[in-house]
Every structure is written in structure tokens, then in C-alpha cells.
């Protein structure tokens, strides 16, 4: 019988993770209507068999709302983080390969953006774009690239020193060719790890900004909205309104982090042979 080594276990874990995510998203889609239905006859119910997450003051099923909100957060987070990662890749490579001026310029922008606390920057961008989900999505996309860009730039700078790149340059290959054929495959593992690790950040920031009131509007059952509404009912003791949605959010984010770390362990040369 073949013994499963650690690496294979990690791959299985990753597959389960993707499956779980898809399940949440599909469930959220199915619950779209259930999340909005109000029914005052069943309002403010604590968790029970029929409604595992309880109901809120408008009689809405909290389980359905949570699932819908989660799937929205996941989709929004994944989408905007992907855009951000692509920006990071382009700018990171550009700053390392297009000469001193480009490096200085992009470096300045990175310093600039990292000087403003993240949430504040998100608030500013989302206000600039008129709030709503577009504001949040672009906000996240436009503010998460700096640190990944720095990482990629450092990698490319190191790569430039390696003999095979220098030989390619001497052979007269164009910069674009070198980037495409030699550097990108090298960067791929780091890029994907960075990308997956961006997802939890994006989701957390999206929910935070929505919580503050800058994101999706109150009609949507985004997790941030659910929790901000729950805050108003805390004092009256309706603990389930805040506990379960938050727990589910923490669960999803934790899984994302674990997936990212697993990916890193699979690809990082230092620990790759454990």
C-alpha cells in the first residue's frame, strides 16, 4: 500500500479547500432570495434546529444571509485581489527591467501608497469612486499591489544577475523575450503564492470597509453590512446576529491563509523537501 507522503497530503488538502469554496459560493447563489425574504412572524429568534443561525429583527434567516454574504465577499475579494496581483506583477517587473527612471518612479508610488494606512486609503478610493461595490472592488484592486510588487521586483533584480539571463541579453534577445521566456516561469510560483495570500487580505478589508459604511449598500447582505447591523442590536442581547456570520468569515479567511501557506511550502526552495 502506497504511503502518502506529506506533499501528497498537502495537495489533497488543497483540493478539499477549493471544493469547500465552490460549495459556499454555490450555496450563496441558491440562497439569494432566501436571504432577502422578511417574515415578521419569526423575528428575533435565537438559533434553533430550523434556523441554525437564528433570525434577525426583520425575520430574515441568518444562515441564508450569511451564506449569501460570504459568497459575495469571496467573489469580490478573489476578483479584486487577482486584478491587484496582476498590477503588482506588471509594475514589479517593469520597475526592475525598464531602467532607473521607471524604478525610481514606481518605487516612489509604492512608498507613497504604503505611507497611508490601508483602511484610510481604501476609504479615500472608495469615496473617489462613489462607494458601492465598484468603489470597494477598485479600492482593493488599486491598494493591495505595493507589497507584492516589491517582492516581485526584488526577485527580478536577483534574477537579472544570474548567468543565463546575462547570456540571453548578450545574445541580443529583446527585453520582452527575456521576461516572457526566462523570468515569468521563474516568478510563477512566488506570484501564485502571493496571489492566494492576497485573497484573505482582500476579503478582510472588503468586509471592514463595508462595515464602516463605504462599501456595498445596506440592501445587500454583505458580511460587513450584516455585522454593522448586528452591532446596533448587541446591547439588547441578540448575540447570534454577530457571532455566526463573523465565525464563518473567520473560517473562510483562515482556510485561505492555510491554502496560501501550503502552496508556499510546496514551492519554496528552502522547505520544499520536507
Amino acid at each position: 500500500m502506497k504511503k502518502r507522503n506529506r506533499r501528497q497530503k498537502m495537495c489533497i488538502g488543497l483540493r478539499f479547500f477549493v471544493l469547500f469554496l465552490l460549495t459556499v459560493c454555490v450555496a450563496g447563489f441558491i440562497c439569494t432570495d432566501a436571504a432577502r425574504v422578511t417574515d415578521f412572524s419569526r423575528k428575533n429568534m435565537a438559533p434553533c434546529l430550523l434556523y441554525p443561525f437564528g433570525t434577525d429583527w426583520m425575520g430574515r434567516d441568518m444562515l441564508a444571509r450569511t451564506l449569501k454574504g460570504l459568497s459575495m465577499s469571496i467573489l469580490l475579494g478573489v476578483l479584486s485581489a487577482t486584478v491587484s496581483a496582476c498590477i503588482a506583477l506588471i509594475l514589479g517587473v517593469a520597475s526592475a527591467t525598464l531602467g532607473r527612471a521607471a524604478d525610481r518612479g514606481i518605487g516612489f508610488v509604492i512608498d507613497l501608497m504604503m505611507g497611508i494606512p490601508h483602511i484610510l486609503l481604501l476609504i479615500l478610493v472608495s469615496v473617489a469612486l462613489g462607494k458601492g461595490w465598484k468603489g470597494v472592488a477598485w479600492g482593493i484592486a488599486l491598494t493591495h499591489w505595493p507589497s507584492l510588487a516589491r517582492l516581485i521586483r526584488a526577485e527580478v533584480v536577483q534574477l537579472k544577475e544570474s548567468p543565463y539571463i546575462q547570456i540571453a541579453e548578450k545574445l541580443g534577445k529583446s527585453k520582452w523575450y527575456i521576461v516572457r521566456k526566462h523570468m515569468l516561469p521563474h516568478l510563477a510560483p512566488q506570484f501564485f503564492v502571493g496571489l492566494v495570500l492576497l485573497f484573505p487580505h482582500a476579503i478582510l478589508h472588503e468586509s471592514s470597509v463595508t462595515f464602516l459604511g463605504f462599501g456595498l449598500d445596506a440592501g445587500q447582505p454583505a458580511i460587513g453590512i450584516i455585522l454593522s447591523e448586528a452591532m446596533q442590536h448587541l446591547v439588547t442581547g441578540k448575540w447570534w446576529l454577530a457571532l455566526f456570520p463573523g465565525m464563518m468569515l473567520v473560517l473562510v479567511v483562515t482556510l485561505f491563509y492555510e491554502a496560501g501557506e501550503t502552496l508556499r511550502k510546496l514551492t519554496d526552495p528552502a522547505s520544499v523537501h520536507e
Binding site: 497611508i116 484610510l120 483562515t254
Partner: protein
């Protein structure tokens, strides 16, 4: 030697100014680009509907809706450099007053959180990195993972529920007991109100620093000189005391100061939950209400803290690292 350091510091100051200037321009541009109508946001549709055209014009002038951007920015910048931060449209007070008042509260909160998370985060991270893959490491990593995945505002809600509503041992919000006269508020009152927000911020701040310190410690442990120390028979404790601690302290300082940005971000959320009248909450109100002078001032002030923190960390490392202290700066 002194000359070298003075040049260094002057360089920092210049860079700081340029960056702050860029920050203000960026903030201004973002706010100006907003399609949000400040009149709608602050006065409301119904009120607007019942106003005369003249009144609306006056309001538009007050909120700076129609002014050409460049002129507006320059007038703001000119005033700012002279020390006049303008008037907060939302709070209807001079911005300096709003900031000065809020800054006190925020500094108390962020100060406590910064110190706690820095010290605890450092030692937890160093321990985790040194005793890699033992239960110490796993436990600390587990805690950090959980904390990093927890939005600060949800943690705040939980703590509020447990300590404020359920156990009723700590106040639910604000910074002083509601309705009490300012003269009667004691130091302990302030501290009691700051406990929950500070606790929340510290808990989330620790995880960030601990994880990064752990990474740095692992990097240090993989260096050749650690291998040599082992070859010389030094045990784990000795290695940490003589080599590990010192070598991870420098990156640790940089990390610690860099965490100012994260802590500020966290304070924005936490202050909102606890209705704590700090800078973060003011920023949210300013953002929701399109209060440009206040928001610009807050952004510049917070950027000052962040950049200043980074520069300070750099200087401190320069002093603490003998290679720089004795060998001079190498670019």
C-alpha cells in the same frame, strides 16, 4: 562621522516632505474626483428640496463644490503650511481643534496597543522561530493565524458582547462616562474606557508582529554562523541568548515601527465599534460626509506618523547595528 549622520537625517527630512506633499495631492485628487455630492450627504435630499437657490449656492460655496481644483488645492496647501489646517465642514470647528482633541485619545489607545503588541509579538515570534515545529511554535502560529483571520471590528464586537453586555464589567463605549462633566472625569475613567479598544488592538497587533518576527528568526537560524555555533557545542538557550536575540532585534525594530500603519488601520475599525472619539472615527465621519479639510489633515498626519516611524526605525537600526555605526552607511 557627525557630518555623515546629519546628511542622513537631512535626507530623511527632505524625503518626508516630498512624500507628505504627494500624499496631500493624492488625497485631494481622490476627494475631488468623488461623485458624491457633499450636500446630499450632509444636508439630505428633503432639506435641499425645500431650500432656495440662494441658500443652495451658499452651501455649495461652503462645501467647495464648484471651485476649480488647482486653485482649491493651492489655497489649502498655502494655509496648511502656515499652520492653518482649515475648518472642518462636518464638525464646524477648526480642524486643528478636532485633530488635537482626537489625537489625544487615539495616542492613548494606539500607544498602549503598539507597546503591548510590539513586546509580546517580538518574544512570541522569536520563541516560535527558535523552537520551530515544536508545540510552542505550533501554538503560537495557530493563535496568530486565527487572529490574522479575524477582522478587528468583529473581535471588538465579541469583546463588547462578553465584557460590556454580558458580564457588564467594562463600559460599552465612548471615552468617558456618558453625561459626566469634563472636570469630574478621572484618569481611571479614561483608562476603563480605553481597556476594551486597546485590548482588541493589541490582540490583533501581536499576531502580525509575531508572525513576521518568526520569519526573520527562521532566516537567522539558517545562517552559517548558527551552524558554527552548534558545531561549537552551544545549546538552544545559549544560541538564542548570544546570537538569535541580537540578530533578530534589528529586523524586529523595523517591523515594530512599520506596524504603526496596521495599528492605525485597526484603530479606525475599533473606534467605530466602541464609539471611541479618536482620529479613526473622525476619519470615517469625514469620509462619509465628504469633509475635505478634515480628511486631508488626518491623512497627512497619519502619513507623517507612518513615514516618521519608518525613518526613526532606520536611524535606530543604524545606531544599533555595529556594521553601520562603525563602518558608515553603505548604499
Amino acid at each position: 562621522m557627525v557630518r555623515q549622520w546629519s546628511i542622513r537625517i537631512a535626507g530623511y527630512a527632505l524625503r518626508l516632505l516630498i512624500l507628505l506633499f504627494a500624499v496631500s495631492v493624492l488625497t485631494f485628487a481622490l476627494m475631488k474626483a468623488s461623485p458624491v455630492d457633499p450636500l446630499q450627504a450632509n444636508v439630505g435630499q428633503t432639506a435641499l428640496g425645500s431650500m432656495s437657490q440662494e441658500q443652495i449656492e451658499k452651501l455649495r460655496e461652503y462645501w467647495g463644490v464648484d471651485m476649480p481644483p488647482v486653485r482649491q488645492y493651492l489655497s489649502w496647501a498655502g494655509d496648511f503650511l502656515r499652520g492653518d489646517m482649515g475648518t472642518s465642514l462636518y464638525f464646524r470647528q477648526p480642524v486643528e481643534n478636532v485633530i488635537a482633541d482626537r489625537l489625544r485619545h487615539s495616542l492613548l489607545l494606539m500607544g498602549i496597543a503598539w507597546v503591548c503588541s510590539g513586546i509580546l509579538g517580538f518574544f512570541l515570534g522569536a520563541a516560535a522561530g527558535m523552537f520551530r515545529e515544536t508545540w510552542v511554535d505550533r501554538g503560537i502560529r495557530g493563535y496568530c493565524l486565527l487572529m490574522s483571520s479575524t477582522p478587528a471590528f468583529w473581535l471588538a464586537l465579541l469583546l463588547l458582547m462578553v465584557f460590556g453586555v454580558w458580564l457588564k464589567v467594562l463600559p460599552i463605549g465612548l471615552s468617558v462616562p456618558a453625561g459626566m462633566e469634563a472636570a469630574n472625569v478621572t484618569f481611571w475613567d479614561r483608562m476603563r474606557h480605553a481597556v476594551l479598544p486597546a485590548l482588541t488592538l493589541s490582540l490583533t497587533g501581536i499576531s502580525n508582529i509575531a508572525l513576521h518576527t518568526r520569519e526573520k528568526m527562521i532566516e537567522v537560524m539558517e545562517q552559517d554562523f548558527i551552524l558554527f555555533a552548534r558545531a561549537r557545542g552551544e545549546n538552544r538557550r545559549q544560541i538564542f541568548r548570544h546570537h538569535g536575540f541580537r540578530n533578530v532585534l534589528l529586523p524586529g525594530i523595523t517591523l515594530h515601527f512599520a506596524s504603526v500603519s496596521e495599528i492605525f488601520g485597526g484603530s479606525v475599525l475599533v473606534e467605530q465599534v466602541f464609539s471611541y472619539p479618536g482620529l479613526g472615527q473622525a476619519a470615517v465621519s469625514a469620509g462619509l460626509g465628504s469633509d475635505m479639510p478634515l480628511l486631508m489633515a488626518i491623512t497627512v498626519v497619519s502619513a507623517l506618523f507612518v513615514f516618521g516611524g519608518d525613518a526613526l526605525a532606520d536611524l535606530l537600526c543604524g545606531i544599533a547595528d555595529p556594521r553601520i555605526r562603525r563602518g558608515g552607511f553603505r548604499e
